[in-house]
Every structure is written in C-alpha cells, then in structure tokens.
C-alpha cells in the first residue's frame, strides 16, 4: 500500500513550486486582478514550456502522457500560487471533454495546440443563476447553428474555442464552437475574483460542430465534472494550505500585549481548526486522486468527497486567514483577500456545495444499496 505521492511526483511538485514562486508571485496575480490583462500570458507560456498543459494528453497528441497524479500535484501548486491563467478551463475541462468524447480529427485539431499553449479551450454550460442541470440549458443548435447565452463562462473571453452544452433534437448535446468565428459575441463580466477572467458569450447562429454522440451530453458532463472536481479540489487544497501558512506565519510574528498573537489560545485554536479542515481535505483529495488515477468505480463518490471537503477547507482557511491578520488582513495590500476571493470563486465553479453534497449522498446510497 502507498497512499502518498511518489518521489518523482514530489520532485515535480518542487519544480513547479519553484517556477510558480517566481512567475505567479503576488505581483503577477495582482497584475491580472487589477489590470487589463485577462490572464498572465507569460506564465501561461511558461507552463506550456514545462509541458504542464499536456500532462494527461497522450504523447501522440503532443502531451506528456503522464497520469492524473502528476496533474493533481500541479493543480495543488497552481491553487497555492493563485495562478491567474485559464488552466482549469483548458486542461481540466476542455481537454477532458475532447479526450472523453472527441473524434480522432477533433483531438488532432485541438489537443496538440492545447498542449503547446497555442489554443485555449473553455466550457460554456451555465446560463445564469441556479444549479447545474440539463433541463436548465436553453441554448440550442438547429441545423448546425448555435443560439443562446452562456454566463458566466470561465475564460470565455480568452478561449479560442468552447465546449458548449446545448439542446439538439436528440436532447442535450455537446458542441465544439470556434469562438473567433462569426455569430459569437463575448464580453468580460466582473466577478468576486477578477484574477480569473469570466465572460458572457452570446451565440447567434454560430457554427457548432458536434462533439460526441448527440443527446448524450449530460452523462459526459457528469464524468468530466467528476474528474475536474478532484483537480479543482487540489487547487482548493493548495489554497487552503497557503492561507493557513500565511496565518501561522503572521501569528508567530505579530505582537500584541507584549507577546506573539499566536500564543493566545483563541488564535492558536482557530489555526488548529484550520489545520484540521485542511488535513481532512488533503486526505480526501488523495482519495480522489487515487480514484481518478486508477479509474476506480467509486470515482464519483471520491470526487464529491474531495470536492465538498476541499471547498469548505479553503473557505474556512481563507476567511480565518483574514481574521488572524486583523485589520491588516482586510487591506487590499495584503494577499489575504486574494485567497478569500478565490476560495469563494472555486466554491461555485462546477456547481454549488449543496449540489455536490446531494451528489455525494446519492453515491453513498448507491454504495450501501
């Protein structure tokens, strides 16, 4: 039995961390948060150069052909570093949709360009408030033309193509849409975390290329979401750990009443509870990583477990990181709010906590029955 990452994977982590320390610094994140660029193009091409955009893409399509465990390691580091790049959209989602259900020619057309960072993909699924449900998708494709409005679309303003969920005559189906082609209008929308770009995309007769069998969109979405949930859980885990570390470091340094504030039990115990939630989330993420990398039957259960656990751990650690920092923690200049924003953003990507709780209980019921 081995329930830890291998020595090679740990080495990969160190390499990625060193790279991100340099290229996804607070200043780099803030340049996106505060400024016009929708993502950090330099960081993106650096990740591409390291091959990290194609970790699970087969070598035949220009990727590294490694396992999901390596991708989990990278995801954790990206979350820790708040990397302001369209990684999750392009790698966890668009790539996975192509791998799961793309035709050979679609894979050939896009995967090599995605691995090299030349093309960015995104998922256009959500159409406003509410849970993620097949029935809530109103966009439709008739005669190969797509109409409808998707909001929010993570990285929709910077992606080259979108995987679009839309109603076809056979039911909910997936389509691949070139976002540079006519019939597509996109505008950036503001969110609680401007360090990750989001768009509203209006399709009005855009050419939509079928992706996978018509009418089978929903089960494919569910499968890809299970995988993406594990990967985003690792991002959340990385963020939670980083927020905890920031809080611990501050509590050891900051003096009040003639002693470090970390010597007060109120602060110590708050930090201990943060550690506990992050440690439980880590264990659950590893469970998810194991299920993802082995293709275990319980992937859905493991994914929902990792997702719920990591979502709450990150929200918990990020909000109390501010609390430990006191007034300073509520300033723009400190990085606490970057994690607070990101923790709340990631909590809603892929659907709300309540929806994942529901899914988890369904899985557990199935496991018992």
């Amino acid at each position: 039995m081995n329930f830890e990452f291998s020595a090679e994977q740990v080495q990969l982590r160190e390499q990625v961390r060193r790279f991100l320390d340099q290229h996804s610094s607070s200043a780099a994140v803030r340049a996106v948060l505060d400024g016009p660029p929708p993502y950090d193009a330099g960081l993106w091409s650096g990740l591409a150069d390291m091959g990290l955009l194609g970790i699970v893409i087969p070598e035949a399509f220009g990727g590294l052909g490694l396992s999901y465990l390596e991708l989990c390691v990278v995801a954790e580091e990206l979350g820790r570093a708040l990397a302001p790049v369209p990684f999750s959209s392009s790698v966890y989602l668009a790539t996975e949709f192509l791998l799961a259900t793309g035709s050979e020619s679609q894979k050939r057309a896009w995967l090599p360009r995605m691995a090299s960072g030349d093309a960015i993909g995104c998922l256009a699924l959500v159409e406003g408030p509410g849970p993620i449900r097949a029935r809530l998708v109103k966009a439709q494709v008739r005669n190969g033309r797509l109409s409808g409005t998707k909001i929010p679309v993570a990285d929709g303003d910077v992606a080259d193509f979108a995987i679009v969920a839309a109603q076809a005559s056979e039911g909910l189906s997936l389509f691949l849409v070139d976002l540079a082609a006519p019939g597509t209008t996109r505008e950036t929308v503001s969110t609680i975390d401007p360090s990750r770009s989001h768009a509203r995309i209006t399709f009005d007769g855009a050419v939509a290329e079928p992706l996978g069998p018509a009418g089978h969109g929903w089960p494919i979405i569910e499968d890809v979401f299970d995988k993406a949930a594990v990967l985003i859980a690792f991002e959340q885990l990385g963020g939670a750990d980083k927020a905890l570390e920031m809080a611990v470091a501050y509590a050891r340094e900051r003096m009040a009443f003639g002693r470090p504030i970390g010597s007060f039990q109120a602060i110590k115990h708050m930090l201990a509870d943060m550690y506990v939630s992050a440690a439980l989330a880590r264990a659950n993420c590893y469970y998810g990583a194991w299920a993802l990398s082995t293709g275990a039957a319980e992937l859905s259960q493991a994914a929902a477990t990792a997702r719920v656990s990591a979502t709450q751990a990150y929200q918990h650690c990020a909000k109390n990181d501010i609390q430990v920092h006191g007034g300073m923690g509520f300033t723009w200049d400190l990085d606490c709010h970057l994690h607070y924003r990101r923790s709340n953003l990631l909590a809603l990507s892929l659907g709300s906590l309540s929806q994942w709780e529901d899914r988890l209980v369904d899985c557990l019921k199935g496991a018992v029955a």
């Binding site: 959500v126 406003g128 408030p129 509410g130 849970p131 993620i132 449900r133 029935r135 809530l136 909001i151 929010p152 929308v189 503001s190 969110t191 609680i192 975390d193 989001h198 509203r200 050891r252 340094e253 003096m255 009040a256 009443f257 003639g258 002693r259 470090p260 010597s263 007060f264 109120a266 602060i267 929200q315 909000k319 501010i322 609390q323 006191g326 007034g327 300073m328 923690g329 509520f330 300033t331 723009w332 200049d333 400190l334 606490c336 709010h337 607070y340 924003r341 709340n344 953003l345 909590a347 809603l348 990507s349 892929l350 659907g351 709300s352 906590l353 309540s354 929806q355």
Partner: protein, 417 residues
C-alpha cells in the same frame, strides 16, 4: 411585558413622526432603504450636502443628538424618547452616518471629559453637522492592543505648553471628510502602557496632518491612514489630564458599545426575501428542507438580536445602563453576515460569482456583503476581543495573563523572540 408606548411616549412619537413627514428628504427614501452596509446611504448624488442639510434641520428643531444637553444644542430627550426618535427617523438615520463617530463617540467623550470652553467650542457645530469628526485611536501596531499605541505627543521645545505630535493612525473612518479628530497619543513611554497616554482634540486641517485613503480588501476606500508630522496642538486642546488618555479612550469605547442604534446588519431579512422568491428547478427554494433549516437557524439568531436590543431599550427606559452584554450584537451579526453571504451565493449556483448589478442575482447585494463581511468581524473589536469582553465583564472570568503587565512601555518586547 408590552411593546406599547405610554401616553407620553405616544405623544412624543406622533410629534416626531409628523415633523419627519414634513421635513425629511423623501426623494432618497427608497435609496436609503436599500443602501449597502457601511455606505453613506446615497450614491445617486453626493451624500455630504444632503447629510449636512438634514442634520442642520434636525438641530434647528431640537432632534439632533437627541440625548445631549439642550444647552449645547442637543435634544435633551430621555433615553426612551431618543429610541422612539431613532425608530421614527428610520431610513433617514443613514444620512447621519457621516456624523456617527462624532455623535456616537467623540461628543459623549467631550461631554464627560471636556472643560466648559471645549464643550462650548466643539459641541454646537458637531450637533448641527457643520463640523465632522473622526477618531484617531488605532495604529498599525496597536489594534486589539490599543494601549500599545506609539504615536507620540511631546511638549514643544519652545516652552509654549503646546504639544508636538508624530506618528501614524489607521482605520480612521471619514478622516478625509473630517474637521476635527479625537486623538490618543503617548506622552510618556517610560511608564506602564496604560499610564502614559493623553487625549487631544486635533484640527484635521493643521499643518503636518496627512490623510491617505486605505484601499480595503473589498476595493472600497472607507477608511484612512492619518500621518502626523510635527503637528502642533495647543494645551487648551488637551482633553482630560495628562496621563489619563486610557481612561478617556475607555469612555469613548463604552459609548461606542452604547450606541444602540448602530446595530450592524445580519443579512437575514434580505436572505429570507431572496430565498422566498427564488424558484429553482426543484421548486421554490424555501421549500427545500436544507434551506429551511438554515433559515430557521439564522431566524432565531436575528430574532434574538432584535429582542436583545429591545431588552436594552427597556433597561434604558427604566434608567439603567445597558452593559457589555451588547457586545453580543456585533459578535453574532458579524459572523452571520459572512455565513449568510456565502450561503446566498451557494443558492445562486455558478452565477453567484457575478458582481455586476445587471447580471448578478439580487442585484449583487450578497456579493457586496461577502466581500465586506470579513471586515465586520474585525472592526470595532474582533470576535476574539468581544468574547474576552463577554467572558471577563459579563461572566466575571479572570483576565488573560498579561505578558507586559507592569512593564514600562519602552521595555515591552516588539518582536517575537
């Protein structure tokens, strides 16, 4: 046990209501009712002139600073009349946000500690809204440990008796709009930290005072840093004796807690209304039992806060002082606000991240709340300080062990060893 006015109270209420009907700036009523937390109330126009105009009008009619002595222009009302007035003033109360530091904290402190000249000089224009005040207490190194503040006030070398102030304050609301500030500075670093402080009234237009807005985590700029560089204050503007600054500060902080009207919002009514109106694909959100359970939990807290406040008003009307029990209001509301905002976003699903009013559910109200709420657990006393206050002052538990007890201020360690 009843919520009814006595005949006298009813008469007062009717009079106040009639006056408000006739005089309030009704054009802002809707905007004030839906204002965001910690704003100056209106954004459709510059709020300052309207705030000052409403304050002046109230002062003229004797409704400004309801419980302050009439001789300085206050309302001279009984505590219960003050509460009735505040109830009737309703949304227009938000127009007083600009004066809250002055009326809620600086003014009462001057009334307690000022000499007659200070009262006559400073109170009337504070009441009429002509002069705006801020409070210069917190410092970068002195937050929860307020008595650890380092801004120095030293006797002017020219022997004039004036004081020369150097240092930095932080988290000063409205400093950029203020005419005067209530300052606590260290006049003797060689004695224990609580003993070497002195209070001053400072003209914010004095040379050497520099105000810089702080960009908060939520990207607002409601607070300021204030830098003092060789700022001269006459001894006539010293408030209370030299070395009694801590006692003066305690008066201010006690009054902060006493300002019953300033209950911070919980977000619960807004959440309930949102959930009650939300149709999901599984039916109305409010029929979802998970939603109901959370709503019920918050409902009893919101209700508990409401009726705790009414108990405080009852105590006032019996002539008793509400005690530090009122600390529970901020403690409970601060946490609730953050939890409610998080839950509201969850209810909205992936679109809950949107902040544009035009596309965000409920006009982005909960997103604003989410980003603002971490501050509410810190400002005016952190959750941890409030629990200490409750434990020590209400329950009589021992104080924390003081690492710096009895130490001269300049001997207290400032770095973790």
């Amino acid at each position: 046990m009843n919520f009814d006015d006595t005949p006298e109270e009813a008469a007062f209420r009717a009079k106040a209501r009639a006056w408000i009907d006739a005089n309030a700036p009704r054009q802002f009523e809707d905007e004030l009712r839906s204002a965001y937390y910690a704003s100056l109330g209106i954004t459709s126009e510059d709020p300052i002139p309207h705030a000052k105009a409403w304050q002046a009008k109230k002062a003229e009619a004797g409704y400004a600073c309801p419980s302050w002595p009439k001789e300085y222009g206050g309302g001279g009302m009984s505590p219960i009349e003050r509460v009735i007035w505040e109830q009737e003033e309703g949304p227009y109360w938000l127009l007083s946000a600009l004066f809250m530091i002055g009326h809620g904290m600086c003014g009462p402190t001057i009334i307690s500690w000022g000499d007659e000249a200070q009262k006559q000089h400073y109170l009337p224009p504070m009441i009429t809204g002509e002069k705006v005040w801020c409070q210069l207490f917190s410092e970068p190194v002195a937050g929860s440990d307020l008595a650890g503040l380092r801004t120095r006030a030293e006797p002017a070398p020219d022997g004039s008796g004036d004081w020369i102030v150097n240092g930095q304050k932080v988290w000063t609301s409205n400093a950029h709009l203020s005419d005067y500030g209530l300052l606590i500075a260290r006049t003797d670093p060689t004695v224990a930290k609580h003993k070497g402080l002195t209070a001053f009234l400072v003209d914010m237009r004095s040379p050497g005072v520099e105000v810089r807005p702080i960009r908060q985590a939520n990207n607002n700029r409601d607070f300021n840093e204030v830098y003092f560089t060789d700022v001269r204050i006459t001894d006539a503007n010293r408030l209370g004796p030299v070395g009694k600054g801590w006692e003066v500060a305690l008066t201010t902080l006690m009054n902060e807690r006493l300002s019953i009207g300033s209950m911070i919002p919980t977000g619960f009514p807004e959440l309930f209304a949102f959930a009650a109106g939300l149709e999901t694909i599984d039916g109305p959100a409010i029929e979802d039992r998970a939603v109901r359970s959370k709503l019920a939990q918050w409902a009893v807290k919101a209700s508990g806060l409401k009726y705790t406040a009414l108990r405080g008003i009852s105590a006032l009307s019996r002539g008793e002082n509400p005690g530090p029990e009122n600390s529970i209001g901020k403690l409970v509301a601060g946490t609730m606000m953050q939890e409610i905002a998080t839950f509201a976003l969850d209810l909205q699903g992936p679109a809950g991240i949107l902040t544009d009013k035009a596309v965000s559910p409920a006009d982005g109200w909960f997103q604003v709340l989410l980003l603002r709420s971490p501050g509410s657990r810190i400002e005016g006393g952190t959750d941890e300080i409030l629990r200490n206050v409750i434990a020590e002052r209400v329950l009589g538990l021992p104080g924390d062990i003081r690492a710096d007890k009895g130490m001269a201020f300049n001997q207290i360690p400032t770095r973790a060893s």
